[in-house]
Amino acid sequence: MATETKAEFKPKILVFACNWCSYAGADNAGVNRMQYPPDIRVIRTMCSGRVSPGHVIDAFRMGADGVLWSGCHFGDCHYIFGNYEAEKNYKKLEQMLKLMGVDHRRFRLEWVSAAEGNKWAALIKEFVEDIKAAGPSPHKQNGTKPVELPVI
């Protein structure tokens, strides 16, 4: 059962959303007044392919409790294969975060289309719950500057 401190834990969750599908899907959730938890902060990029593993790692080092990376479904990408590249990068990221010891619940790559406001709302709800269950991230580095990756 969740303890009282866990109930009060307000996670810091960063979301990267592509302009054409996921950000539009989030707008669609708004138009339909679909409610979801306010714990996320969104950065809009033109394509999910714009996000690099470095951005996500930096976010964890700055103290993010969770990072969601979202783009178009395969075949829907405005730039044809940008989301495929995002997936490739995500696979690399998974390895890197594993080495860093980051709980897999803390990061996700998801596809949400412009019409899937309901999916967006459900996804955010689920992700926020996952992060709350995972608790505050232990990966925040002291100081403002992210440090170098550990040498393996």
Partner: protein, 953 residues
């Protein structure tokens, strides 16, 4: 829609109809009557407060009556214009009892109860009829219990159920009890291919629509156990459609059942449905149970609308109420009066890709009368604001009526923003997007010497262009603007958590301020456009594209590899459906081409293409040609069936193209080795719908077979057609199919894995095939076997052109369009267009219509003196680049290339004319040498810091 709504040269008249057309082609005067909207379109911001307070709920037409709307409403969320409409019929407000709730709720005073109809007369050069089609309502005939049994619905209604923003929020539930059905059954051809009700023709869009809905059903409702599709023939004829069909066949919970149910009965207690079907294998009747039935309702024009409109415009309609084309093959987009053009479902049912291609085609044809009246570009001279100094940020907050303000404390957001670095001015407005507020922004920019502007309001996807334009007009670089979405992604979705929502809005504003300080002014790059075009391929499609461009006054060069024009059409005898002589058809097209002034170069091949959109140099065997646009119309090869069905080994086995030339000799008897042919057998899908050769449908062969079979019957020859699905989807094709059956042509269905076998060694003696309706193999005597061969890519030519033009081919080997629905004639390379069979197999009519479409798209480019390139592209720091080639490898648009930066040292360089600005290369670059402008690492980093570390350095 938004593009059309926002285009400076497009005036949109909604709630309007044409009530008069006078004058002549090139100089018509159209009278338009606009019904009152009761809402001022210029004032309404689409905030929806009026709708919130409206007490009336009526069935929502957009949701097919499954949901409700208010009396004052916006039909659907993306509606253009973004203004509400008052349905006066259902409004409670009348003279005696005033309701006035909406008027009181409207802070901007946009509602006018005394609005009246308006009539205007506008001068127009040409008219395009794009009135679409209605849908057959099964209710009229009580088919399958529609309108009686609650769980029987039409395909369109089912689409609304599947829509996430539809009446059930994407849930597939039964109208009778709100439960998820265990089994869903789709019935095809309801009101289509039918002489009793609806239309005799094929509706083209329903087969794939049902397949799509079937597949989506399980996505939406994992509890659905089975989906069955009851069909006559699956007509998955479009590009990639057969692959999709195969995919749905591969799902073990989707069952395709051949044959339409005879009737449906309902269990009155459970409202479950019983479909009376026949097992095609045993011939025995059976009952198929389903919880929900979806009727794939046909497209049927609204005659009450089309016939009076046809009279008014002076154009003819056909027996169903569709508009008639001037000639079915090469003038399919022209109505029967000069200067009036047709596209989409106004001329017959179409699927989306064909409709969109035709729309571009109709626009190209309409431009013929407008070429002299092109509106010259407006030259503006706005002194630019100097933005080089320290960032001075202005934050403008929007209440959006109460949409934002009822959840967020906008003033407190402003207070918080005031304390952020570089912020020198903060103010809030009731509606920041209103004209008045936009003028205030312009004044404040000047007053406080702002060089960065932030709007915290709704979504940048709809409103960023408005703010950017406001800033551009006063000389502030529009890329120094940043938008924070505190409505769609904050107040609307965190309504019940105002404290946390306020925190989120605060953070997002802080992030925007951090980013704004790092924004750089960007200039749109201007490229000169050479107003001429090169069309590659001199078949009927290429000829049409060249003609349509040349009549608009653009210099066009038509390149043909062989020594004569006409391509495949030269091999034809007569065309379908009008039995038009192919020779005449070609001659007419050739005359039009010659009169258009296009330069024709035969025996010319391309060797190399340099340059980019607006400025290509096409190097040919006959010297270089400069062009702003290139149209690819190289056609396709015909499948060579050597080794199949004893073709080439046994006399009497010929292809349909060979039969076409036999039929051209009108007086000669058709014979094999001197013996007259008594019975001829056609085999369909030779080299089509076969994963080993050509995975897709070749579209032309079914109807060609019907045409040839009818010609053979006229000569007294017996005809048997062995087919898999009869795909007679084009105009008048279904009627011809029926005619062929009536004329005694026998149709025998064969299975994909059980092909007919040809008997006889030296000459054909017969044909043997498993016949399902009899349940055993049946042998028939035949002296001739005609193979309906498919269309396949020209392998070598395509490979060469792919390399030269940098246009990719798809999995089927044909050239890939930019987007099947949004850009069916464009390619990934800007300035290069594709049409005809080079894009995928199609018949003459569709090829030629698509060619007009490509010409239309090319003309939009060529009509401008310059093309403006979006500056949010990527650039390479050659000092950091290690020439690894990653960016070159991943870019779909071939924007990165190699350049020699110092003797012997190479680095990547990005061609801005090709870059689309996705920024993927910047993410993939291992050394960080690539900068994605407007979405730089520095900007993203600053936003993360502002949020996670709370620092706005």
């Amino acid at each position: 829609m938004m593009d059309a709504g926002r285009h400076p040269l497009i005036d949109v008249f909604t709630l309007s109809e044409v009530v008069g057309l006078a004058g002549r082609p090139g100089n018509y005067r159209a009278t338009i009557r606009t019904a009152p909207r009761y809402v001022d379109i210029d004032l309404c911001t689409g905030c929806g407060q009026c709708s919130e307070v409206c007490p009336v709920a009526v069935p929502n037409e957009f949701d097919m009556g499954l949901g409700t709307r208010k009396a004052i409403y916006s039909p659907f969320p993306q509606a253009v214009p973004n203004a509400y409409t008052l349905d006066f019929e259902s409004c409670l407000n009348d003279v005696i009892l005033a309701c006035e709730r909406c008027r009181q709720a409207c802070d901007i005073h946009a509602i006018k109860y005394d609005d009246a109809p308006k009539e205007v007369t506008v001068p127009v050069g040409s008219v395009i009829v794009a009135t679409g089609t209605g849908v057959y309502t099964p209710y009229l005939k009580g088919d399958y219990g529609y309108g009686i049994y609650p769980n029987v619905m039409t395909g369109l209604e089912y689409e609304r159920l599947l829509n996430a923003s539809g009446p059930t929020n994407g849930r597939v539930i039964r109208p009778s009890d709100g439960k998820v059905p265990e089994k869903v059954a789709f019935i095809q051809c309801v009101g289509a291919r039918c002489t009793l009700a609806g239309g005799e023709y094929c509706s083209r869009f329903c087969c794939l629509n049902s397949a799509k809905c079937a597949l989506l059903t399980k996505d939406h409702e994992p509890d659905v156990e089975e989906v069955s599709i009851h069909y006559i023939d699956m007509r998955a004829f479009g590009k990639g459609y057969d692959e999709f069909y195969r995919r749905t066949q591969g799902e073990d919970w989707i069952h395709y059942v051949r044959g339409k149910p005879s009737k449906i009965l309902e269990d009155p207690k459970t409202h479950d449905l019983m479909l009376y079907t026949e097992d095609q294998k045993t011939g025995k009747p059976g009952i198929h149970k389903a919880g929900m039935v979806v009727l794939a309702s046909a497209g049927l024009p609204n005659r009450q609308m089309t016939e009076p409109l046809g009279k008014l415009l002076g154009i003819e309609t056909d027996e169903y109420g569709f508009f008639e084309a001037r000639q079915s093959n090469t003038q399919a987009l022209e109505a029967t009066r000069d200067g009036i053009y047709l596209c989409g479902c106004s001329r017959g049912p179409e699927d989306i890709p064909d409709s969109v291609a035709q729309a571009s085609g109709a626009a190209a044809l309409a431009a013929k009368y407008l070429a002299d009246d092109r509106i010259p570009p407006v030259v503006e001279d706005i002194p630019q604001v100097d933005t080089s100094g320290e960032p001075r940020i202005g934050v403008f907050l929007c209440h959006c009526g109460i949409n934002i303000a009822h959840v967020l404390d906008v003033d407190k957001l402003g207070e918080a923003a005031k304390g952020l670095p570089h912020v020198v001015h903060v103010q809030s407005d009731l509606f920041a997007c209103s004209d008045q507020a936009q003028r205030v922004i312009q004044e404040k920019v000047a007053e406080h010497k702002l060089n960065r502007v932030i709007a915290a309001a709704c979504t940048p996807r709809t409103h960023e262009p408005i703010f950017r334009e406001t800033l551009r007009l006063i000389g502030l670089n529009p890329y120094l603007f940043e938008m924070v979405n505190i409505r769609d992604q904050c107040s609307w979705v965190h309504t019940n958590e105002p404290i946390e929502a306020q925190k989120r809005a605060n953070d997002q504003i802080r992030m925007a301020v951090a980013r704004a300080a790092r924004l750089e002014p960007l200039e749109k790059k201007e490229l000169k456009v050479n107003p001429s075009a090169v069309v590659i391929g001199g078949g009927l499609a290429g000829m049409r594209a060249a003609t349509d461009l040349a009549v608009q006054g653009f210099p066009v060069t038509l390149l043909e590899k062989s020594d004569k024009l006409g391509g495949r059409a030269r091999e034809l005898n007569v065309t379908f459906p009008e039995e038009y002589d192919a020779e005449t058809l070609f001659n007419e097209a050739y005359d039009r081409l010659q009169n258009s002034g296009a330069i024709i170069k035969t025996e010319t091949e391309i060797e190399k293409v340099d340059g980019f959109v607006g400025d290509f140099t096409v190097h040919t065997t006959n010297g270089p040609i400069k062009a702003g646009a290139i149209i690819l119309a190289v056609g396709s090869d015909i499948y060579n069936p050597v080794g199949e069905y004893k073709y080439g080994l046994t006399a009497g086995v010929i292809t349909n193209m060979e039969l076409e030339s036999l039929l051209a000799k009108k007086d000669d008897e058709i014979e094999v080795n001197g013996n007259p042919v008594k019975t001829a057998a056609f085999i369909q899908c030779v080299g089509s719908r076969d994963v080993k050769t050509n995975p897709g449908c070749s579209r032309y062969c079914c109807i060609t077979t019907i045409k040839q079979a009818l010609a053979m019957r006229k000569r007294g020859i017996n005809v048997i057609v062995y087919y898999r699905d009869m795909r007679t989807f084009s105009h008048h094709a279904e009627q011809a199919y029926r005619e062929a059956r009536e004329a005694g042509v026998m149709f025998v269905r064969y299975n994909d894995d059980d092909k007919p076998e040809i008997l006889g060694d030296k000459t054909v003696t017969g044909i043997k095939a498993y016949t399902e309706s009899i349940g055993e193999e049946v042998e028939c005597d035949a002296e001739m076997v005609v193979l309906a061969v498919g269309l396949s890519p020209y392998k070598e030519t395509y490979a060469k052109l792919k390399e030269i033009l940098k246009v990719p081919t798809g999995p089927d080997g044909f050239f890939m369009e930019r987007h099947p629905k949004l850009g069916p004639v464009e390619t990934n390379t800007e300035g290069i267009f594709v049409c005809g069979c080079a894009q995928g197999p199609k018949d003459l009519t569709d090829s030629v219509s698509q060619a007009s479409g490509a010409a239309g798209k090319a003309a939009t480019l060529l009509a401008h003196e310059t093309v403006l390139l979006d500056p949010t592209t990527c650039e390479v720091d050659s000092y950091l680049c290690r020439d690894c080639g990653t960016c070159i490898e991943i870019c779909e648009f071939h924007a990165p290339g190699r350049t020699e930066v110092a003797p012997g040292i190479f680095a990547a360089a990005i061609n801005e004319a090709l870059c689309k600005g996705c920024g993927t290369c910047a993410a993939m670059c291992p050394t960080g040498a690539i900068k994605a402008r407007h979405f730089t690492d520095d900007q993203i980093d600053s936003m993360m810091k502002a949020f996670l570390l709370g620092t706005n350095a």
